[in-house]
Symmetry: C2
Amino acid sequence: MSSINSENASTLESAMQLMIQTFHKYSGNEGDKYTLSRAELKEMLTQELGSYLGNAQDQDAVDKVMGDLDSNNDGEVDFTEFIILVGALTVACNDFFLEYHKDGTKKNTKKE
Amino acid sequence: MSSINSENASTLESAMQLMIQTFHKYSGNEGDKYTLSRAELKEMLTQELGSYLGNAQDQDAVDKVMGDLDSNNDGEVDFTEFIILVGALTVACNDFFLEYHKDGTKKNTKKE
């Protein structure tokens, strides 16, 4: 993906580039270069989200994520399905950090 | 968001952190700290996605994005609505780069 120029990218553009780069880092390993096979999905989950998902080593967990994501039932996760996973995880993380932040600053409500 | 530790984060975790940080950078400026008002959305679009959206200076364009995103019609964009925008833009960017990449490497089909 040498056509992506990360110089002068905004924070959000950097995030978008990192998501695109991550997908293609794994999707090119076998079969269709532009989708994640079950094995590629497992490697991506383990390498990239090990600390979030914990048990990606577990084949049942990988099968469950694949089943949830693979909306067209072709046994492959395409880029849109990958973005839906990342989006859902990001929303969950944001909720978690907001709860944490609110709990930690209950006495400090300057802006509310 | 000092509770997010970016050390040892994977590429994908970094992307997720950058999206969360970007949203809160703008959402805290006025009104509800956890949603983007119309003015905050405009600032975010201009600062972060100027090179993608081009005409975010245009109030009509901001109104259109707000109308498309604000699914619960409360005049504010919440984090989930923001992630849907970023996800849709990332899918569009990926499609664009794949087309570009395919056109540029038509003769070089080692893996297909």
